[in-house]
């Protein structure tokens, strides 16, 4: 399930353009099992394009993409079976309950999980049990996000791709979410988190990469001693990268 370097996610020299707009220009990125990687970048920096490449939704113009050693373009089914993806602002199906939504998507993924697994994942994301069987049409944005994350957890896969996962979550829910990612890390899950939420990234990420000019411009690793990251320095770096973008 890993490539030669032991990385669950391995991107090398990835190029991709939309028309004349070159978004990714030689992106190199690896995420190891049990590692949480936060990818920061301004709007249009290529964060979502990177996720799309990992999901096999687009074919690279140059470079290679591997998820657990699988090329998602040539074998998207196998690659997608190894990863769970939480899109930004996903609304799921409003006519279904949280439990039914997760059950449906698990069935589509051919992931045979019992009711216990669904309930455990719903419980893990902090969704109140009385909401599990209610239709999602009455759910807040945060509640919907929790269900989407619960679905990703219930998939129980080695790679998690998260697109702005804390968007719409209140601070307490963000804390709970971070605990979930901690648990995932302990289960050797590789997490790639695309986010604008620098605070959450500082709290949970093992490495933070700044995406700019179509590649990782700078990467910082969490310190084993003292503060994990220098938040002020990161903020300045991020603001600068955003201005550049």
């Amino acid at each position: 399930m890993l490539d030669d370097t032991g990385a669950a996610i391995a991107i090398e020299g990835l190029h991709h353009s939309y028309g004349s707009n070159a978004v990714l220009r030689g992106l190199d990125l690896t995420v190891r099992r049990g590692e949480i990687y936060a990818l920061l970048g301004g709007n249009g920096a290529g964060k979502s394009t990177t996720l799309s490449a990992l999901l096999g939704f687009l074919a690279p113009e140059a470079g290679t993409v591997r998820v657990c050693g699988i090329d998602p373009v040539s074998d998207p089914r196998a690659a997608r079976a190894a990863m769970a993806y939480v899109p930004e602002n996903v609304s799921l199906y409003e006519h279904l309950s949280a439990r039914e939504n997760i059950g449906y998507f698990l069935a589509l993924a051919e992931a045979k999980r019992g009711e216990d697994a669904i309930e455990n994942s719903l419980s893990a994301v902090g969704l109140a049990p009385e909401a599990w069987d209610k239709r999602m049409s009455g759910f807040s944005k945060g509640m919907r996000q929790k269900v989407a994350i619960a679905l990703a957890l219930a998939r129980d896969v080695p790679v998690l791709l998260l697109d702005e996962p804390t968007s719409g979550l209140d601070p307490r829910a963000v804390l709970e979410f971070n605990r979930l990612l901690d648990a995932a890390r302990e289960r050797e899950v590789a997490v790639l988190m695309v986010t604008h939420d620098i605070v959450s990234a500082v709290d949970i990420a093992d490495r933070i990469g700044f995406l700019g000019q179509g590649r990782i411009e700078e990467e910082r690793e969490a310190s084993a001693t003292g503060p994990r990251f220098d938040l002020n320095a990161l903020h300045d770096r991020y603001a600068y990268a955003g201005a550049a973008a």
Partner: protein, 472 residues
């Protein structure tokens, strides 16, 4: 369970939990049932009236006293066309063509008492029959249920989530088509059940009913496929809805009404007055049997005298006036038949023009299938006219022969023959046309419906490929 089946089942669950969709579906089902039962009731009432009128006119005809046979030629007969069994399902052109003809000597009358000429304006816009509901209203419901099938998934990012579970674009499209295809067939199910029940009573042929169901199934599936494909290609639900409503208006409302107008402009039919004038002119050219100098009838008289080997008409063993009537009827009938053939040829040309455009408006194709199998199409009307005319000719010539053969033996200035003679003349019995007698007439419309389904399958394939790309 395959991903496509799961997605199809989800579409059914969406419908089951969509109150507006359920109410609209229930209303349409109710409308089909109401249309079926009222159409059956109307057919029974019209059939009862027809039988009553036919019996009444036959009795009046039989009750005529001893008369000169030529007076009976002008007394004539009314004949009524029985409604084809499946015409309750699709009234076709029956409401406009008339179902009664007055048969008399020397002329062919057109069918009269068309329902549309006596009824309200509403009838002209479409009688409430199961065919009308399936052809016009069912596509609207199917559009309403299918327009968001893929577009909403795209808009709400559930499509991307679905694909990220390892589901292929092809499975998404297959599931949506399966789901909405089954819903569309479910919409038609009450009508199909009525048809099957009707066939089970022995009132209609199973083959016609089976083909009718097949045709409507293809029509409904076509709209389901169109709804899903447009939903996938349009991207946004509101765009998909606007496109589909536009297509419905063009395919179901505009073209089927505009094309006959275009056909009329291209191949104009003679007006009734023009036809009458032309006929009158042709009839004058035959000659005048009462004119002693008329070359045609002088020649005819000479041939008759030669055939019987006599010198004068008074020496003939038959009444000469009766022979002139027989010959005159033969000639006028030929003129009327030629005029009718020209009229039918022009109408058929117009119909062929309209039918050719069924490629762009498959409603024309399903109408062709439906009317032909229901026995309410123009061909069935022509068949009635044809049978009625054959009967009329035989009826008039029998009376003319009675005049020629029986009158010479009767003395007096006002010779009459017994009423028993015309009471023995067989009555008109319409031999209902077998809708499948000309199966080739169904080939084109079925080919059009299947062609549309094939094209939509191709577009669905393209949409499936685009789904993966649009999920970036």
């Amino acid at each position: 369970m395959s991903a496509a089946t799961l997605i199809a089942r989800e579409e059914w669950r969406v419908l089951a939990r969509n109150r507006a969709g359920l109410i609209a579906s229930a209303l349409l089902v109710l409308l089909i049932l109401v249309a079926s039962f009222t159409s059956l009731e109307r057919r029974s009432a019209i059939e009862a009236d027809r039988e009553r009128y036919q019996t009444s006119t036959d009795e009046t005809f039989d009750a005529q006293p001893d008369r000169h046979p030529h007076r009976m030629v002008h007394y004539g007969q009314f004949v009524f066309r029985p409604i084809a069994p499946l015409a309750f399902f699709d009234a076709g052109v029956d409401s406009f063509t008339g179902n009664t003809i007055f048969l008399e000597g020397h002329r062919q009358n057109s069918a009269n008492f068309a329902e549309a000429r006596q009824s309200s304006l509403l009838l002209r816009f479409g009688q409430l029959t199961p065919a009308f509901v399936l052809q016009t209203l069912a596509p609207l419901l199917i559009i309403f249920l299918a327009f968001a099938s893929v577009a909403r998934e795209n808009e709400r990012a559930t499509l991307k989530l679905m694909l990220s579970q390892g589901v292929s674009g092809r499975s998404v499209m297959a599931g949506k088509l399966l789901g909405h295809g089954a819903i569309a067939l479910g919409v038609g199910l009450p009508a199909f059940a009525v048809l099957i029940a009707f066939a089970a009573t022995g009132a209609a042929e199973w083959a016609s009913v089976a083909l009718m169901i097949l045709g409507y199934a293809a029509w409904l599936l076509l709209w389901a496929a169109l709804g899903v494909v447009v939903s996938a290609l349009a991207g946004r639900p509101r765009d998909a809805l606007a496109i589909l409503i536009g297509l419905w208006m063009v395919i179901v409302i505009l073209l089927p009404r505009a094309l006959p107008e275009a056909a009329s402009a291209q191949s104009q039919l003679a007006t009734k007055i023009e036809t009458e004038i032309a006929l009158h002119r042709d009839l004058l050219e035959i000659g005048d049997s009462h004119d002693p100098d008329d070359p045609y009838f002088n020649d005819f008289r000479d041939q008759v005298l030669a055939r019987y080997g006599v010198e004068t008409v008074e020496e003939l063993p038959v009444q000469y006036a009766g022979l002139v009537s027989i010959e005159g009827e033969r000639l006028t009938t030929q003129i009327y038949a030629d005029a009718a053939d020209r009229q039918i040829a022009s109408e058929s040309e117009q119909n062929a023009f309209v039918h050719a455009f069924s490629i762009v408006s498959p409603l024309i194709a399903i109408r062709q299938v439906s009317m032909a199998l229901a026995g309410s199409d123009p061909a069935a009307h022509y068949d009635f006219l044809d049978q009625a005319e054959n009967f009329r000719y035989d009826f008039v010539q029998r009376l003319n022969r009675m005049q020629a053969e029986l009158l010479p033996g009767i003395e007096g200035e006002d010779p009459r023959i017994s009423a028993a003679y015309w009471q023995q003349i067989p009555r008109f019995a319409y031999d209902t046309r077998d809708p499948l007698a000309r199966p080739q007439s169904l080939l084109w419309p079925f080919a059009v419906l299947l062609g549309w389904l094939a094209v939509l399958a191709g577009l669905a394939f393209i949409a499936a490929r685009r789904i993966g790309k649009s999920a970036r």
